[in-house]
Symmetry: C2
Subunit: 85 residues, 2 copies
């Protein structure tokens, strides 16, 4: 069993008004030290695979076909093996 | 400058229908190897602080006051120092 940890975030060129709103809210709460905020989605996927390469290929296909919008978002992932249960 | 990477996820006791829907969508796309999905929010916060302890305290206060719903969600974070720019 493998655990894939996936982060999906907007491409740097895409304006993210939600992140701007969060930063403004931080400043209203007097967290003036904050200079930038980025926000995105996080997924933990547990999957069966015979080896790490196969798990990575599966994860990449899942991101391409389902989790990320290729027009606006990028993704990165890490795959690690889980101890046998 | 420090970068805080924050993950906000539902507590294990909270039913997450969106994660169930994502898992079902994976199975419809023939990713039958997937056995579990968890989803959450991810934030990258760039902030000024004089040391790592102060940056961690700031991050924790921000999570408590803004980013996480203490009734339903938990958070975890990592703080790392950015190279001076």
């Amino acid at each position: 069993m493998f655990l894939a940890q996936v982060h999906v975030t907007y491409k740097p060129s895409i304006l993210d008004p939600q992140a701007v709103a969060i930063k403004n809210a931080m400043h209203r709460l007097d967290f003036d030290e904050v200079t930038a905020v980025q926000q995105g989605k996080y997924f933990e996927i547990t999957l069966k695979a015979s080896n790490a390469d196969e798990a990575e290929n599966q994860t990449e296909a899942i991101c391409d076909q389902l989790l990320a919008n290729p027009n606006m978002e990028t993704y990165r992932y890490e795959v690690k093996e889980l101890a046998n249960q």
